[in-house]
Symmetry: C2
Subunit: 761 residues, 2 copies
């Protein structure tokens, strides 16, 4: 391996256009004939549509098309087609405040907005349910009348004999944990332009994390062949999972474009973004953990009920994925897991950084501390006793290859001065320290039966390189990582590398950027493509220098021949190949990561995960006894990266995720009134951490061996958010002696917990 | 070979968007912050710039940048860098009416135009030369003062011993022939948008026939690395050679963009297009031909002087190329060729459909008729006696592999009813028939020492195909041809094929679309890519069906196994490969056509040509004795296509070229006043054939064997224009007994020739 590029904290290749405001986002797109679409959304959480009158809207000057449910293809959609429950526009029933009822295209945004106000919809209100208790109560109103129940999906998993095992435990703790609905709060709202041209081809510019699967979904929604759809995703102002599954504005803009023969742009208002762009799934978790007196965790049982909202999306996948992590974090020999999802009349959930794992980890990692407290054991010690070790296989089948779980714990504890700070309790007012572990996939999953990526590189006669990859950069820096991998392998400068991506016509089929998979999957494909090109360079050099190919070495941008001190520039070789022989040099790579022999999609469980990334966060906090406010003083986040490709960006990913984790832990929540309407639909009311809320974060990248990522790298996109909330909760207990079991841990909740604790003593 | 697609007259894949006006051309491009550039051009043919005052222009509201020669990189440019003579903007001297003097960028076109009028330029007029006689006269004013002479380039070639051979001839004819300056008259004018972004990367959208070489040229002009330049060519409204070499508006727009930080659009007015977008080179040709009495052409001598205009461009190449065709059309054992180029103070010439060949062929093919007349031999018979035969090599080294020269002559003669019409002379007033032969490259040339192309195809899980090719569609239908080749090879429907092209970041390095090379070169690469993908389909099918790959056949879109009657859809196999294994299927192809062993660029001459395409046109015309007007009644154009890929488009290419040939023969000419200013700079004054001028054209595609084009195809982009003018001239002689030796053969010239003939009898 060269050491010019990998591991360095290089600036992002797209930094300059982004910070100077010249980088074009989808919303900046202009084109001839462009018109604007707006969506009329339901003001009621549950109602029957008795009639819609669009005649006045159609009369408004500048309005070119008005559509309702009957004007669009009637295909029923969901990410999982077997759970299909959503039409492009509602036909007879609306199921949450924000549901799509009608849409308008007009020559400007103001006319479109004015036309919405002229559409008359006659609703008959229906009873609604807003939480899982109401939704699952006997005789509850059905969110979907055609279903038998609001419970739409269940899953069970069993390892060992937990009933027997709990009887063998010396200590058992159990509790109910509640997590909230949070918004992705991307700086760039959901938006798209659709252009349905005269040849019947539909081009969609949309800020999506998965252009190829979005293409399939749009084709399915509109009932047209995939070949007629092209999806182009420009640079993005944040995704975090919210831009994986097709938003209905895309087929709506497409139909409006077809009707008018004009390209149609639809952009969410910030309010629409909060009310309709989907959220993290709120889970209610019932958890029980038992240990033997030597500290061995012996039995676990978890029941989780997910609130899926009004429609299906990624609900089953998040619970399934999180259950794999639940089964993997510690190797517990006896485990029972029950999961279910229930409909409510709310905005639906979707993928969100961590994908169910932050919810689970909040419950499991605070309960570990509760167990330690009950046992009178240091919670770090309890965790170290139960830590996974490299080269083992857990009860639930997880193959722990490269694993730096113990190193992460020790690094985080050292960073926060664990022993010293634990002893100081009481000396600094209500200060405390806490820590929590996590495990996550380091490279997506084989949830389709495989996990694969393809890439191409082509070299110009100047020795510059173009990478064609499906690695999608939603702001996380995937393009920079791809460029570094190629620059490293071919020994060229970062400036010499250009990345082409994000257009389904150009790039190879790909599952998209999610599950921390881009570095691992696309990175591997890009590395293989660079190696293929390198082999051709060796061949060309051997021909040019009239030597045996076996004697040629390419290293750090120079070509040399064994036994000679002469170094040739890469560009010199390529120029010779191109200009003397018309032989441009390019390379192709395909990385396929299949399920192990004998496993299928239903049986694979943790075999779905190509590699695991462990991590530990330790925090120091201070509780204000008067207000209940929790101030985070310091976070030490030690995460396993395999090999760090870009230290600056890896640390940036961890820091950003920790900030998001602090928001999740302490302040963020979508709040609704009694009719299901979102009350905090803007950044004035929906509080995310600002610079004053984010403390010093010490991000530590722990390198480990044994993974098959590019140069040994693992994905680091999501882990940083996963253990922050339980680490804070554990620190609150350390400071105050009270357990917080519901997120967010707002001042009100902390104050109430402190008061109840006082009362009971 | 399948027979589903190849040879069929299928509609173009881009027909619908084009005819409905929705296809976006570069000129339609909009983007955030777009501003507009205009160029101040010299009103004088030759002058010294004493001073330029831009201060008033800069004060005009809306004007963002004004540049002159001192504000741009001072690199001196030509297509051939060894002939470099042009700067981006003139610094001290202007050399033709239209030369670039200054440029303005403003928020709208009107402000930019108004600013031009406020730039004060003080010129000192210099004496100018407007034709080669004046330019080559002793003591003539020098167009470039730093050169020794206006003669800038010469070439000589000698085969056999022509001096001795002429003495052995029984018949000798000689004459002077003059061809004119004509405009390409593309429906879409030259235009571009340049965007120099904050990361230092320059993106250029420009209607170019050669994005990759244009990228190199722009980098050279601006003195920046090629890697910082991206060239994107959208669909084009005609090229014909005018859009091969970089127009100065491209570096001008680039500098304006760099200065303002905004994307800059510059669009030619129609007048600018006529006065500055370059023309066909006017040649003066001195030709002598000798034959033995049995009809064998025994000796030939040609001296040609090209008028290159004020700057260099493709002048040497056109003369070199045409001399190869001159040496190849008939195998004459003794030949001398002298070529030279001279500067004049006029708009410069460039590539134009036929590339020097129409000029040469006008002289050579009318002189064959003159020779036949002198010998009392039927001109068709004389040509048949001297026709090239397949599998021979000519004196000048041309390898005549597949060759249907005789078949073309016989088909054209039959189509025009040659024997009958020749005998009818005098019966139908001044009607006559004439014919002419031509030969042209059928696949570009190895002028860079090689001729190469690369392509990729990728298949979606639906079985649809995306082609990534550099085949540039300038309106000639190259994308449709590429789609047909792939559809044929993989047996998919045309609707299932999509073509990606024209972006230097995306497509492989390529020399561009010129010299009738796209079908031959890019077509071969695309075919090889499709074959590569097909091999992978066979592999995937064998795996899926659990059979030996050797027993799998892919034919007409179906996959079958030897011994089984079951047909599997292609899509079924691909879907299996993708969805079961994450193995998308793609293919790569590279076609390299090198000079034969032992030849180099200086010695190769006709070895440059990968295959020859012969053709014959026969015409019937009528001369109006009162007005001198020549009316073309019918054209039969028999052209060798090897294998016709698309009969509709091949015939369309021939018909369009014949129409352009009629314009060249009878009416088109750029006319200047005595100061060098173009007088006919619009379609009202510059006459091109309209529907009333174009007669019935019978286009006959003659298929022939022996070429290595895709499925045996040859290029047919240019040939149709080459022999039209001499065929008409020969028909005029047949009708009237007078020889026209200057183009265009306008009514005035015909009338004058008729009058002179009357006087001399």
């Amino acid at each position: 391996m060269n050491t010019c590029v990998i591991g360095k904290g290089l600036p992002r290749i797209d930094a300059l256009p982004k910070v100077t405001g010249t980088a074009p986002y989808t919303v900046d797109l202009k084109m001839p004939g462009l018109i604007y679409g707006k969506i009329l959304r339901s003001p009621l959480a549950h109602a029957r549509i008795k009639s819609i009158d669009t005649s006045e809207a159609l009369k408004l000057p500048g309005v070119l098309s008005v559509i309702t449910g009957k004007d669009v293809p009637q295909n029923v959609f969901s990410f999982y087609q077997w759970l299909a429950d959503k039409t492009i526009l509602c036909t007879d029933t609306v199921r949450y405040v924000g549901d799509e009822v009608a849409a308008v295209a007009a020559v400007d945004e103001d006319s479109a907005e004015a036309a919405l106000a002229l559409i008359k919809v006659d609703y008959e209100p229906l009873p609604a349910v807003f939480d899982i208790d109401a939704a699952m109560a006997p005789g509850a109103p059905l969110v979907h009348e055609d279903k038998e129940s609001n419970v739409t999906w269940t899953v069970q998993r069993l390892f060992g004999d937990p009933d027997k095992a709990f009887l063998e435990c010396d200590y058992v703790v159990e509790g109910k944990y509640v997590t909230q609905q949070t918004a992705h709060t991307c700086m760039e709202v959901s938006n798209c332009v659709a252009k349905w041209d005269t040849s019947g081809r539909l081009t969609i510019w949309v800020n999506t994390q998965a252009p190829h699967t979005q293409r399939q979904e749009v084709a399915r929604l509109l009932g047209i062949p995939k070949r007629n759809v092209r999806v182009i995703s420009s640079i993005m102002g944040g995704g975090f999972g919210s831009k994986l599954v097709t938003d209905m504005k895309v087929p709506i803009a497409s139909v409006l474009s077809k009707n008018t023969g004009r390209p149609v742009k639809i952009v969410n208002s910030r309010s629409e973004e909060f009310c309709t762009a989907k959220t993290r799934y709120p889970y209610t978790l019932y958890l029980k953990t038992g240990a033997k007196k030597d500290g061995r965790i012996w039995a676990r049982e978890l029941k989780v009920i997910g609130d899926t909202g009004a429609y299906h999306d990624k609900g089953p996948a998040t619970i399934n994925f999180a259950s794999m992590m639940f089964g993997t974090l510690y190797d517990v020999p006896n485990m029972r897991f029950d999961g279910m999802l229930a409909y409510t009349n709310k905005e639906m959930g979707t993928a969100f950084r961590g994908f169910g794992n932050p919810q689970f980890t909040f419950a499991t990692e605070t309960q570990i501390d509760e167990l330690a407290a009950k046992m009178g054991m240091d919670p770090l010690e309890l965790r170290l006793k139960n830590a996974n070790q490299p080269g083992t296989e857990t009860t639930c089948g997880a193959e722990i290859c490269g694993c730096a779980m113990t190193e992460c714990m020790l690094a985080a504890a050292e960073g926060i001065e664990w022993d010293k700070k634990r002893k100081e309790k009481g000396k600094n007012g209500l200060r405390g320290v806490g820590l929590a572990n996590m495990v996550h996939t380091g490279g997506g999953g084989r949830f389709y039966g495989y996990n694969s990526a393809e890439a191409f590189v082509k070299l110009s006669d100047e020795g510059t390189v173009t990478i064609i990859t499906s690695a999608l950069d939603m702001g996380q820096g995937a393009h920079t990582v791809m460029a570094q991998i190629v620059a490293e392998e071919l020994g060229v400068q970062m400036d010499d590398v250009n990345v082409i991506s994000n257009d389904t016509d150009l790039t190879p089929y790909d599952l998209g950027s999610w599950g921390s998979r881009a570095t691992f999957m696309n990175g591997n494909a890009v590395l293989m493509a660079a190696r293929d090109a390198k082999a051709k360079i060796v061949e060309a050099a051997a021909e040019m220098l009239e030597v045996d190919p076996g004697s040629v070495t390419v290293s750090e941008g120079k070509v040399s021949v064994a036994g000679s001190a002469v170094l040739h520039d890469l560009a010199e070789i390529i120029e010779h190949a191109v200009n003397a022989h018309g032989n441009p040099i390019s390379g192709a790579g395909r990385f396929v990561d299949k399920l192990p022999e004998g496993y299928t999609i239903p049986t694979a469980f943790t075999k779905n995960i190509p590699c695991f990334a462990f991590g530990t966060q330790a925090v120091e906090i201070e509780v204000d006894e008067e207000t209940g406010e929790v101030k985070v003083l310091k976070v030490v986040a030690a995460h396993e990266t395999g090999t760090t490709i870009n230290s600056l960006m890896a640390e940036g990913q961890i820091e950003g995720a920790v900030a998001q984790g602090i928001g999740y832990a302490l302040m963020e929540q979508v709040i609704r009134d009694e009719n299901g309407k979102v009350l905090n639909d803007g950044f004035l009311d929906y509080k995310i951490p600002n610079i004053g809320d984010v403390p010093e974060i010490e991000a530590i990248c722990i390198e480990s061996l044994g993974t098959n990522g590019p140069f040994g790298a693992k994905g680091i996109g999501e882990p940083g958010l996963v253990p922050t909330a339980p680490a804070i909760a554990n620190a609150i207990y350390d400071a105050t002696g009270v357990w917080l079991r519901e997120l967010p841990m707002t001042p009100e909740r902390v104050l109430r917990a402190l008061e109840e604790a006082k009362k009971s003593t």
